[in-house]
């Protein structure tokens, strides 16, 4: 991608060195290694329950690492809220909320605004831009519970984009989206990288992994990690899907 940007900012956006992640001191997956600077894409690939979400939740600062080193934007995860956006899997409460779609997108600006600072022109521009990019604007005044599952997922993605973060942690962002929606997500990820942002994407879709700089193939343990052409081999994929006999 843009080599000039690389040279100017040698800042490390994501570092995972021999990282073990899990719950209640119990590791779900260990020995994870990945490094990402600006404009890079790390893909965490594996079946359901393979540890993808656990790694993302650790990078988001929601879980303490079990062992090893991890940093986001040079500090402990959960330090730079305005510069790191996290899209969780299946945000459940959206189905019943009567709040307008655009107000939910606007929540993406809260980390920058804090408790009381009023929204300015740049905030409104970022919200509008995010809604247009995810095609949310035609139904921006509708309450969330009147939207389909796919439309709600777009609203949530627009909220992540509205944050204008340097690191995007996306947990299966294409879940519930049709082909057009999936294309929109792929386009947005490419655009974010072109703007110098780092993206960490959890997916079980092989096509999502192909444009990555670094792939971590998971099935309760790291099957392989590195460049896509080295990781996404037939043997590795068979080993990955052989561990959890579904999907």
């Amino acid at each position: 991608m843009s080599a000039e940007v690389h040279n100017i900012t040698s800042e490390s956006f994501i570092e995972m060195n021999d990282l073990a992640v899990g719950y209640h001191r119990h590791a779900v997956v260990d020995h994870v290694n990945a490094h990402a600077g600006p404009d890079s894409l790390i893909v965490l690939m594996g079946t359901n329950g393979s540890g993808k979400s656990t790694i993302l939740r650790t990078l988001a600062g929601l879980l303490e690492p079990i062992s090893g080193d991890v940093s986001v934007l040079g500090d402990m995860p959960g330090t730079h809220h305005a510069r790191c956006a996290y899209l969780p899997q299946h945000p459940a409460s959206l189905t019943t909320l009567p709040l307008r779609a655009r107000d939910v997108v606007a929540m993406g600006r809260f980390p920058r605004l804090g408790m009381i600072r009023r929204m300015g022109a740049d905030d409104r521009a970022a919200i509008h831009d995010a809604m247009v990019r995810m095609s949310v604007h035609p139904f921006q005044d509708k309450p969330l519970h009147a939207l389909s599952g796919g439309q709600q997922q777009r609203v949530h993605l627009a909220q992540v984009l509205a944050r204008e973060a340097d690191v995007l942690l996306l947990d299966e962002p294409t879940a519930g989206l049709d082909a057009q929606g999936r294309n929109a997500v792929a386009r947005v990820i490419a655009e974010e990288r072109a703007r110098g942002r780092a993206v960490v994407l959890a997916t079980h879709d092989l096509s999502d992994a192909e444009p990555a700089d670094h792939v971590v193939l998971l099935a309760h343990q790291v099957i392989a990690q590195g460049a896509p052409r080295d990781v996404l081999t037939d043997d590795n994929l068979r080993a990955c899907y052989g561990f959890t006999d579904r999907h």
Partner: protein, 285 residues
């Protein structure tokens, strides 16, 4: 004709006090009720409203103001629910249910043991809206200012919590801390309201106007405003009906607020879960 609508209030100070108290309770409950409805925390609101009963009974036995006992009751309930949820694998719903029935039973036993309580249990459960004193009104004004200021200051973390506690956390707001702040604000509204509308009926004022507001409004500020108006109108109509028909005042007020919800639901709420009429391109699911 006008006389029938205003004379009961013009002629009787206790009716004016009751109206003022009801409007203040409506504003208090509107501020916190919208979050109770949006977050689906009705059960917590219910438990809080009833969990204060043994505290009030205990305070009466000791001869101290019921408010302090209620505050202790609310604290024990929320602390207990938090502890059981954290230390066991039970859901918070189960923990809330356990403490809810436990505290309610304790309250009933405490009041039934003492003969001096014979009339008090009704008073605790249904309040004494017609016996509201000027001092109580001033305390409610203080509560409205405190609760209103807290909700205004914390509206961003509170909104994020309604979507997902993790979203609040990753947005830089300590989710568990603001959850406690929200629960404490709900408890404060309940405590400031129960003496006038009672522990049983404060729950109705917490839920019914906010639920009505959620049917017709799309923004937090509008929702709070609509809930406060629905609560205030319910208070006026409820007091008026109870005056003319000689019915229990607090219960009539809450019944009117539930009736308003049902009417609004019949008119505006029927199509809410229907699929969108104009799905945006390629986003249907």
């Amino acid at each position: 004709m006008n006389d029938a609508f205003w004379a009961p209030f013009a002629d009787n100070e206790f009716m004016r006090h009751a109206l003022a108290a009801g409007v203040l309770v409506s504003i208090l409950c509107a501020f916190v009720g919208v979050f109770v409805v949006l977050r689906g925390m009705a059960f917590v609101g219910d438990a809080l409203a009833h969990g204060v009963l043994p505290g009030v009974a205990g305070a009466m036995l000791l001869g101290i103001p019921g408010f302090f006992g209620a505050a202790v009751g609310a604290g024990v309930l929320m602390g207990g629910v938090g502890l059981v949820t954290r230390r066991s694998r039970l859901s918070s719903d189960t923990a809330i249910g356990l403490f809810f029935v436990g505290m309610l039973s304790l309250g009933v036993i405490m009041t039934s043991r003492s003969s001096t309580f014979s009339g008090d249990i009704t008073r605790i459960l249904f309040g004494e809206i017609l016996g509201t004193t000027t001092t109580q009104l001033w305390w409610q004004v203080v509560a409205v200012i405190a609760v209103g200021a807290t909700v205004t200051l914390c509206h961003r973390p509170f909104l994020l919590l309604t979507i997902d506690p993790d979203l609040a956390q990753t947005s830089g707001f300590n989710a568990s801390r603001f959850n406690v702040v929200m629960l404490a604000t709900i408890a404060a509204a309940v405590l400031a309201s129960f003496q006038t509308v009672g522990t049983l009926l404060v729950f109705g004022m917490l839920i019914a106007p906010a639920a009505t507001a959620a049917l017709v409004s799309r923004r937090l500020s509008t929702m709070i405003l609509v809930a406060a108006i629905v609560g205030s109108v319910s208070t006026y109509l409820g007091l008026l009906i109870s005056f003319h028909a000689d019915l229990a005042a607090g219960a009539t007020v809450v019944l009117v607020s539930v009736a308003i919800f049902l009417i609004v639901f019949a008119i505006a709420g029927g199509d809410h879960h229907a699929p969108p009429t104009h799905p945006a391109h390629g986003a249907h699911h």
